[in-house]
């Protein structure tokens, strides 16, 4: 297992990144000083905090974030009402120039947002003229205080297409459109972006959410002097949903654009999963808000070691590799069935499996009180496996496929004598095979 010859570099819409790990546009990419720090820590590139023209004043609400804790786990999710960059455009452009000069091998993606066609074109051009290697069009902030902007554009597909086209007219560098998750089918806006000329798609921005409500004043948080608002929710809690958006776009036949995956990424395992469903680069904010830039070391090292263990040398060889196995549910082979298998020898007798099986599953466990051990009634097991999710002993409860002739017992009826009172006529069964 040697991780030495592993190549993490990617070509993304014609731009070369030394690794696929990017800061996403947010406070973590707010200034050159911070971004430089992140490059030193190992990040491959940046999507700089969204630039605005300066024609409309941008003011951040105070306070602007609220965490969603889960038990002792901090920040499963994070809610924010932060606006796009409140710095003068000139300062941001100077910072882009600085980064370009000092870190020429770290591509800069400038996130931009406009409030009219000319406004979009003006910011886009300014970014290109001052060192941006690529643009990201922010069609996706879900809590802009300026009416009709952010994800309102991302939800109005023709507008999104129009602004993309307008920007493409004035710049030569590749343009990526950043999608909002606050829609039904993400391939629709993505196709509109493509029609407008987008060279890549990034997804997703934050989800509209409510992380917490004050228990004394009933004001949702963050509490902005007595007012709460539905606003952008991010972090590990949203990862499974964000991942599906990437997969949907990767599988969309007509789209065929490179993808940048965003949402809840903290570890190399998260990165791997985004790659496997078709992302070429990934972007992170909440993970950095939680742990700092240092997490990139573990992303890179973990991914390298994983690739070495699989004999894969180039990270690009992982992209989309799970897609052939990702199908619609009608492809399942329902003939094959299994059940839980218990290794009682290593059981510590906590009984959590017994509780959940009894209250939320097949009621397939008995409890041997003296020995403090569960006992599986095999033919009652539904194979839902929830017992294994709560079991604290790794490997104690596993899934086991059963032979064809194995039969599961139907869940018993409580009182069969009630049949005489039953008002029911059997519906003809559909034969799924024809």
């Amino acid at each position: 297992m040697t991780a030495k010859n592993i190549d993490l570099s990617v070509d993304f819409a014609g731009v070369k990144f030394k690794n696929p790990f990017l800061l996403s546009s947010s406070p973590v990419s707010n200034s050159a000083e911070m971004v430089a720090q992140s490059f030193e820590a190992g990040w491959g590139g940046v999507v700089f905090k969204t630039l605005a023209s300066g024609r409309w004043p941008i003011v951040h609400p105070s306070p602007r974030m609220n965490p969603y804790h889960y038990g002792s786990t901090k920040m499963m999710g994070l809610q924010n009402v932060e606006q796009i960059s409140d710095r003068p455009l000139k300062d941001n452009l100077l910072d882009l120039l600085y980064l370009k000069k000092n870190y020429p091998d770290h591509p800069i993606v400038a996130s931009v947002m406009g409030f009219s066609t000319e406004d979009w074109q003006y910011v886009a051009k300014a970014a290109e003229d001052n060192g941006a290697d690529m643009l990201e069009l922010n069609f996706s902030c879900p809590h802009m205080t300026i009416e009709g902007s952010g994800h309102k554009v991302g939800q109005a597909f023709p507008l999104l297409e129009g602004f993309t086209e307008a920007v493409k007219k004035v710049v030569k560098i590749p343009v990526m459109a950043k999608m909002t998750p606050n829609i039904t089918d993400i391939t629709e806006p993505a196709m509109f972006a493509k029609k407008g000329g987008a060279d890549a798609i990034s997804a997703v921005n934050t989800f509209r959410g409510i992380s917490e409500i004050g228990r004394d004043d009933w004001i949702p948080k963050p509490n902005i002097f007595g007012v709460g608002a539905e606003s952008g929710y991010s972090g590990p809690a949203v990862k499974p949903v964000a991942l599906h958006f990437i997969a949907d776009m990767a599988k969309c036949k007509g789209l065929g654009l490179p993808l940048s995956g965003i949402g809840g990424i903290e570890t190399w395992v998260d990165v791997l999963e985004y790659l496997l469903v078709g992302a070429t680069t990934i972007q992170v904010t909440t993970g950095i808000i939680h742990y700092g830039y240092r997490i990139v070391e573990d992303m890179a090292e973990g991914l390298r070691d994983y690739m070495a263990s699989k004999g894969i040398n180039e990270v690009t060889d992982l992209i989309g590799k799970a897609l052939p196995n990702l199908k619609e549910t009608d492809h399942f082979d329902l003939e094959r069935q299994g059940r839980a298998e218990y290794n009682y020898d290593i059981c510590i007798g906590c009984g959590q499996c017994y509780i959940v099986c009894n209250d939320a599953a097949g009621q397939a466990l008995e409890w041997e009180a003296e020995k403090r051990r569960p006992k599986l009634i095999e033919d009652k097991c539904l194979s839902c496996m929830v017992c294994s999710f709560v079991c604290p002993v790794p490997g104690l409860i596993t899934f086991k496929e059963m032979p064809k002739q194995w039969q599961r017992n139907e869940t018993a009826v409580m009182d069969p004598s009630l049949e005489k009172e039953l008002k029911y006529e059997r519906f003809e069964e559909v034969d799924l095979k024809t």
Partner: protein, 442 residues
């Protein structure tokens, strides 16, 4: 149970779930205080964070890259005095079990076959390491990682020094050590066992034989008789001889002398604790721990002292041995003691024991172990360039371990006096860096 079963294997460490639960408790401190407290820069702050972020192989790499005896340290370090002492989680509940996590990660690496090291491109320079204890192994590993050709000269038939021939196997066993040593073999380190570097100016010979630098880490294996005068009383052992005999698995020979018999161990340090515990495991009827100061003044860790008390060892504190009484055959049959009381503090700022006149008494014993401190082996004459201090310890530059401009370096117990495995590891690393620097200049 046979002797072997009592002695050959240490207790199991923690498992994956326990390690992850501990990592989840970790506060992932900024400028981690645990990392700063580790004498060998093993960097627990980083390896626990890696475990937390599911980067297990990276965590293993951090440990082993920083500390090639990371497994041994995870087992043997007195962590409550080192990394865990500084742990911020103590403020909430209790320290993270850093030593246990470290041991787990190293063992887990063996389990999944994860190799941290690869053989480096070989350099032409040869370096000799004298003594295969933790200091020597660490120096050898560090140099081999950089491609130097390293030969380790080991006096006994297997490498390891104290952790192979001193620490009892129930605390650190052969199987575990064999896995840890494998990394050194993989790195291409050569071992010449059963080879004591001795004779006049033994080090000069190595330098003349083509070794460009020499690292001295012979540890402390000399004995100092407790009671002046002719020795060789049957049934009286030094702690080193006694523990070596155990690690050579001479259980039957020792068992015959100890099982069902009365044993006295003299001393109050960690080594004395290892000796009393071993004597108990060998089936002694009564084990006495004879110490001239009080319980609270014993240098051994508190948990070690309580542990042996629990085993049923009789503590004879405030008693100073004055003589051995023997049978006509020359075998010891009693220990003559005199009671002491504590007076004003001495140089060690502990209150000094003074004998109580006329309080001599005799304790009937069949076997005695003297565990009263180790010192350098006087029989060895290294080189005129190697300067010794009053205690016979080698004088080395603390920044680099350098002893002489002839590229002689030293580290471990022979420089520090009785110290710790983790400190020996650090000395080896520091000297290796200095050696590499010096060699790259020549």
């Amino acid at each position: 149970m046979s002797y072997a079963e009592h002695f050959q294997e240490m207790e199991k460490g923690i498992g994956l779930a326990h390690a992850i639960a501990e990592a989840d408790r970790c506060l992932l401190c900024y400028d981690a205080p645990c990392s700063k407290a580790c004498p060998a820069e093993t960097d627990p702050g980083a390896f626990i964070r890696k475990l937390r972020l599911r980067n297990i192989t990276g965590a293993i790499r951090t440990i082993k890259d920083n500390n090639i005896l990371g497994g041994a340290c995870g087992v043997l370090c007195p962590t409550s005095k080192l990394c865990e002492k500084e742990c911020s989680a103590t403020g909430i509940s209790r320290p993270i079990e850093i030593g246990q996590i470290q041991r787990f990660l190293v063992e887990y690496g063996w389990q999944i076959g994860f190799k941290v090291f690869e053989r480096a491109k070989e350099r032409k320079e040869k370096v000799a390491v004298v003594g295969s204890g933790p200091a020597g192994l660490s120096c050898a590993g560090e140099l081999a990682k950089q491609g130097y050709q390293v030969t380790v000269f080991a006096e006994r038939s297997e490498p390891g020094g104290v952790i192979r021939y001193g620490v009892p196997a129930y605390r650190f066993d052969k199987k575990f050590f064999k896995n840890e040593l494998q990394d050194l073999y993989d790195l291409g380190v050569e071992f010449q066992c059963n080879t004591k570097i001795e004779g006049k100016a033994g080090v000069e010979k190595l330098l003349n034989d083509g070794y460009k630098a020499v690292f001295l880490s012979p540890g402390l294996w000399g004995t100092q008789p407790l009671i002046p005068g002719p020795q060789n009383i049957q049934g009286v052992f030094t702690s080193a001889d006694f523990l070596v005999a155990l690690r050579e698995e001479r259980y039957e020979e020792l068992g015959k002398q100890i099982k069902g018999k009365r044993v006295a161990v003299i001393g109050g340090g960690s080594v004395a604790m290892d000796c009393v515990e071993s004597a108990s495991k060998l089936g002694a009827k009564d084990v006495y721990l004879v110490y001239r100061r009080s319980f609270a003044q014993m240098p051994a860790e508190e948990d070690e002292r309580l542990e042996v008390l629990r085993l049923g060892v009789h503590f004879l504190v405030l008693n100073q041995p004055v003589d051995y009484l023997t049978e006509s055959s020359g075998k010891v049959n009693a220990l003559k003691l005199i009671r002491t009381q504590l007076a004003e503090p001495d140089a060690s700022s502990r209150r000094k024991p003074v004998e109580i006149k006329g309080s001599e008494w005799e304790l009937d014993v069949d076997f005695v172990v003297e565990a009263v401190g180790q010192k350098p082996d006087e029989a060895v004459d290294w080189s005129p360039a190697v300067k010794l201090d009053k205690k016979g310890l080698i004088v080395a530059d603390p920044e680099s371990g350098q002893v002489s401009s002839k590229l002689i370096f030293a580290g471990g117990d022979i420089v520090r006096g009785p110290a710790l495995v983790v400190e020996a590891v650090q000395d080896g690393k520091v000297a290796a860096r200095a050696i590499a620097k010096a060699l790259s200049k020549t």
